[in-house]
Amino acid sequence: MDMNQYLSMFIDESNDHLQSLNENMMGLEANPEDLGIVQVIFRSAHTLKGMAATMGFEDLASLTHQMENVLDLVRNNKLRMQDFIFDTLFKSLDALEAMVQDITAGGEGKADVTHIVASLQAIVRGEVPAAAGAAAEVTAAAAPAASSAPGALDEFQYSVLEQSIQEGHHVLYIDVAIRKDCQLKAVRAYMVFDLLERSGEVVKSFPSVQDIEQEKFDYGFSLYYITAKEASELESMIMNVSEIEKATAVALDSETLRQMSQAPAAAAAEAPPKEVPGEIQAQPAAPVPQAKAEAGKPAPARASGGAPSRTIRVDIERLDVLMNLFSELLIDRVRLEQLASEVQNSDLTETVEHMGRVSGDLQNIVMKLRMVQVDTVFNRFPRMVRDLAKSLDKKIDLVITGAETELDRTVIDEIGDPLVHLLRNAVDHGVENGKDRMAAGKPETGTVNLRAFHSGNHVFIEIEDDGAGINPQKIRQSAVKKGILSQEEAARYSDDEAIQLLFAPGFSTAEVISDVSGRGVGLDVVKSKIASLGGNVVVYSTMGKGTNFSVQLPLTLSIIAAMLIRLGSEKYAIPLSSIVETGIIKKTQIRQVHGSRMIEFRGSHIPLLSLSKFFAVADFDETTEDETEIVVVRKGERLVALAVQDFIGQNEIVIKNLGKYLPEVQGISGATILGDGQVALIIDPNAFIK
């Protein structure tokens, strides 16, 4: 029952709320007249405030409260949204995010927000003078002075409650008494809180939540609670928690609320504990049968306690452990299959085959567990693009499609930074400024498309702008000037090849180094990052029409389907995803073209590469054979045939790295352990295609 349990819930939910605040603010900015969005924002802010106050993060709560004041004026048509108001609200969101991050990192969530608070207050005061008095009053009251008395509501909580009453919610004062023979009263109290949190919001409790958790209370506590449910309904819900002696819920209206909050703090603080033991003595028999009767029918009560959550949050490390264990299992499975095929016992073979199917299903599930929607990365981009466009004085729409596409968590974790970089590029260099766009006959507002979609064993993420496009000639010149290419080489590059030079190390075409991008350390880092994830990035561009950066990513990083091949005494694995086809060619079909060996493949000529030569395999040379097995692999549009000795078969393999000590080996992307315990190297087909 320690605080951490609430804390992780609080952090998760705060992040959700902050995200929805951000999204809705963006929506509102596009549609400033839509009061429906303001309502949504207000509700989010309100919940956030309530949660923060309950958890004791005063700074967070007071800042949200100020935001609420502004929003309140807006939704009541007393204030029109304007640019600077948006900016201030966004700034507040940033500050809130920083606080939540601080809390996540184990901090107190404290931050100096006086500046933002002051500007929020200025908005409330400056724009609508009539509201100034009210705002001042509220802020003065929000000061911590009032909260020092433990029993009383501080003005801040009071205003929350009053607002709720005005909005038509039920505000209840609930007294709960726990049976005296209860061993774990903090647990029971927690269960009550948990129950209540499901159907409403606890604004304040006496004693405080912390004290209750540490069992620093007698056999009773009381609280202020906002809900949509009726008082009697709640009473019976609470009574369903075992070992609860008595629960009374009193609905409050504005008048009684005022009286209660204005009653002397000391009296309010002492009254409940005194009262409760008294009640227990007075009616010792009655509540017990009642509790039993209630316990007899727990099912309907539980159903009314709100739909149980359909998801659980699992520690990422546990998933990793699961994954590792599963990898081991897979290796054993392959080994078993080998043994079974040697033994030739039909019962054994059948069992192993069945196990193979089950483990296949299991693998699918395990992989799915690790899949995360790209939305978790994408969701921060609209805000980023907005800020960026604003600072560059451009008008840009970011259109996101396919945010529900799923990727392995490890990829998701790493892909954020490269995408940020590409997006910044699109906004800064891609989309022209408004004047240039008008001159080119385009709409003033630029569009940046962020797309994610599945294709085969890969996920593609594309960032496409409708800007000026890339001038290949400029790239060539720049590359020559920077010594990346010689003049002759540059002339030989096709336009398409030339613009890929953007990814060459030390290349930056920006004529003016802006604050946003173009510091010269750029796309080469993006490219190597994506390559390290087993992906690839290419750029397509049409002058005057726009630029498209296409990022190709593997669905998963740890288990892949691969073709095992033999070269002499050595075994290698080739990822199935890059194999186009396998076949056998005769020696006579090999042609010498320009000093290199080519074969005809589906109407075109593709190079034939000797793997045994490339890897210097001692005990195999395919040139002595009349017929050679080939594997045709692909990288993008280009194909190459690899000559091998034998196909062993297709297998699921677990990718392992070669260890830190080994330098990068050309043509090898990793290793895997085969069923017989031997290590086989995984071929990186991309290395053969330049």
Partner: protein
């Protein structure tokens, strides 16, 4: 008084070498090694050590001593230095001794053909046994390997 350390003793040719015991993970018998192409000749390849892929180095090759046939006595010493796991192929490994740090002297320029920078020192044990203490982080220093290769190439 300097502290006592435990040292694994292994042999390359006739020389005896020592590695501090806490840097050694396990000592394995010779096992199948998967060759890794396109790398330094002294990197013999990778092994599967209980599910982990670990590169192995022939220590003779690393020190530029003529490589020998592997025998029953040949061992792979798996060390863990700077979070790198690497296996060393050595002629034999059959002793653990206690050594006082004070008994380790700074090495002379060349010992058994190995450059002094790979060495932590030389310890005299018994009457006429000399133990050469290896400086593992230098042995595994990659930037130095690159220079070495470019000199050879």
């Amino acid at each position: 008084m300097a502290e006592d350390i435990k040292v694994i003793v292994f042999k390359l040719g006739t020389e005896e070498y020592g590695i501090e015991v806490d840097k050694v993970q396990t000592i394995e018998r010779m096992m199948p090694i998967t060759r890794v192409p396109k790398t330094y000749s002294f990197i013999k390849g990778v092994i599967n050590l209980r599910g982990v892929v670990i590169p192995v180095i022939d220590l003779r090759g690393r020190f530029g001593i003529a490589e020998a046939e592997y025998t029953d006595q040949t061992r792979i010493i798996i060390v863990n230095v700077n979070e790198m796991e690497v296996g060393f192929i050595v002629d034999s490994a059959n002793d653990v001794i206690d050594l006082n740090r004070a008994s380790i002297d700074t090495p002379p320029e060349i010992v058994g053909g190995i450059k002094a920078k790979y060495l932590d020192g030389v310890a005299k044990i018994g009457e006429d046994r000399l133990l050469i203490m290896l400086n593992l982080s230098e042995v595994l220093n990659k930037s130095e390997i690159v220079q070495l290769e470019s000199l050879e190439g």
